[in-house]
Symmetry: C2
Subunit: 402 residues, 2 copies
């Protein structure tokens, strides 16, 4: 009901850990709103809700299309992002700021925390009888939003992880040893699982994959590594930063010292090599034969490059843009709020559709890897590979001498 | 003097840390030797001199051109590499193995240790009156071979570092903080310096660059970081893994515990996040205001991805291939031994030439960054940027909103 559209301004913000395609969604929203006579000014909020409450806004209405295209192709949040997770009082300030700037359309690009912010702000506006359309545009490399087949940001990060395991696996074949690679993912193992997309022959790594969805014990880990290393003379291992024991305690919490907690009270997992070094140390200690030579053990923590590497998955770029455009389109169609979700229509050829679901369907919930994606034996299933392969784009083919 | 050529077999091996283009040089040697009637079989030695002394050889003569092209485009050492650094007795076994397999042409792709191996084997063959052509084909991401303008492998690793700092710099602008990135390079800072190739505006990082060529003190480091962070509200820092104090002691040696030593007695620098974590810890400890909130400090250690990332610099691929071909060509031209070197002819348009120098001109020597590439203020000079920019290929242009 476009004739129901209220006249006013729009604001768009970016939240949480940036991705390689979060600017595609930003530009998608701006493109989708342009030319709508009811929408006067499209503001960009610097550093998400933080800029919105402080009035740190940028007029995006006047930016030329080529500038927008250049921004869209650039990784990380061009508006700046924030780790603020607004409580009720903070949401009240967001709502008041919307009133101040005559904002009637609020778009927030982020993970499930951002969806929750949209939900609360939406409730406040409803209570106040102030018409405010609130839209959540999905974004997370963790791929842990419910209702979505996958989330913008994940395919590009998965592409990085697959490329990294491909190169690293060849390196570890050249100079054989035990190699631990720590991959981002606090609660969901989707990104770590993407390491398996690098495999092109039966003996290619990763030989072992550990995700938060499966309880981790050091004893089993050492036994697994020993088995693979004894058989192949090398072992490439993918480990989620968020691996946890059977009681749900993060393994990283077992390590003393350098850990920092963020504003949400979570232990800092990224931006430190501690977990990888600790696992390497365990392997070296326990697999060194008495009086013998320790195996060559190395650990790399892929870190922030996973979410900002400037070679995004082509499909991810297209989908992130469309997700932003879809949110704008639905906002322009009348009295709606909601979260945009990606649904897979079919796999061959790959095809997706975009829908809108209520904000509370996504807000504050975490999606985990489904059982059918996880093999008992520290591996992923073919079903996962079929799911993930179309997302990451072309991966180089390995040439071998024999 | 082609008519002087002795009839026999050839062997080629790969040594040391692999690179993204070490297989280009391998294939270049094979291509360059093909069709030479005096050379009967071209062997590939598995894991370098280790395979040569144990007779673990592969017949490369029969491989079709398309297979070779696929191998050339694949990162890491397709034959397998080795960390063995042969002493006189080991070199004697190499020489005897050459006799056993009627090898008259020996090509070794590697760093200055490999050049030294060539030199010793060459001397042994001269003493024994056994005609053996010994060629060193340069390879190292550290770029630390004397006589060379740059070495195959460096441009691709430099490309990775530049791309990484570009993405990471945008990430650190989105969520501002202090970010330490540890880059490979035990004695030479060329690779760490390549981080500066990511800059596209005045306030882009890296804001501070620390290389082994300049004495490192924690006090100065903290003061530098404080100055930048106070000014910009963020700070992106490039640190060589091999930074050392004024006495030449590695800073990494100041950290207790997990460090391992390799066969050469060197402290393990790569494959651990310890140096980055330690520097982040120093910053956090010393820049947290009394009773105040610590700054957001993160450290990433880029690790092995720097040398194996499957997106090699186009120029590096071409030059590594040519270096191998050149070695074969000179071997076929008569009574020569030597090390292939790259000389820059001019910068605009970029042009290089390949020459051969005596083995002892390169063997066992380490090249450092020249003074004119290093700015006093923890930065690189324009001279370095002009030197390095043509090597890495195209880097994405950053799109910005303002």
């Amino acid at each position: 009901m476009a004739d129901h559209l209220i006249t006013g301004n729009a604001v768009v913000g970016q939240s949480g850990g940036p991705t390689a395609v979060i600017n595609q969604s930003l530009v998608g929203v701006v493109e989708g709103l342009r030319g709508c006579p009811e929408i006067k000014t499209i503001y960009g909020a610097h550093h998400g809700v933080r800029g919105l409450v402080s009035g740190d806004l940028l007029d995006l209405t006047i930016l030329p299309a080529d500038r927008l295209d250049a921004v869209a192709a650039t990784p990380s949040a061009a508006l700046g992002s924030t780790r603020d997770k607004p409580d009720a009082e903070y949401c009240q300030r967001i709502f008041e700021s919307c009133r101040t700037y005559d904002i009637r359309y609020f778009f927030y690009i982020g993970g499930n925390d951002s969806s929750d912010t949209c939900r609360i702000v939406n409730e406040l506006s409803n209570q106040a009888g102030y018409e405010l359309r609130c839209f959540h545009v999905p974004k997370t490399i963790d791929n842990d939003l419910v209702e979505n087949d996958h989330t913008p940001g994940y395919p590009s990060a998965a592409r990085f992880v697959a490329m990294a395991f491909l190169g690293d696996g060849l390196d570890n074949t050249s100079l054989p040893g035990i190699k631990v690679n720590i991959v981002m993912g606090r609660h969901a193992g989707f990104l770590t699982a993407a390491s398996a997309l690098s495999r092109q022959s039966e003996t290619d790594g990763p030989h072992l994959i550990y995700v938060p969805e499966r309880a981790f014990t050091v004893d089993d880990f050492i036994a697994d590594v020993d088995r693979v290393y004894t058989k192949l003379g090398r072992c490439q291992i993918a480990v989620s930063e968020g691996i946890q024991d059977a009681e749900g305690n993060a393994i990283s919490a077992m390590m003393s010292g350098l850990n920092e907690r963020d504003a949400h009270g979570n232990v800092q997992l990224s931006g430190t090599g501690a977990l990888g070094d600790w696992l390497a140390h365990q392997i070296r200690n326990r697999l060194t034969p008495e009086g013998g030579k320790p195996p060559r053990v190395r650990a790399d923590t892929f870190g922030y490059l996973q979410r900002c590497w400037p070679d995004a998955s082509p499909i991810d770029q297209v989908e992130a843009r469309l997700a932003g455009q879809k949110a704008a389109q639905i906002a322009r169609s009348g009295d709606f709020d909601g979260s945009i979700v990606i649904k897979r229509v079919k796999n061959e050829p790959y095809q997706v559709g975009f829908e809108v679901v209520p904000l509370d369907a996504v807000a504050g919930k975490t999606r985990h890897m489904p059982t059918e994606f996880l093999h008992q034996n520290n591996n992923v299933t073919d079903a996962f590979l079929e799911y993930a392969r179309p997302l990451v784009g072309d991966i180089p083919t390995i040439g071998r001498l024999g």
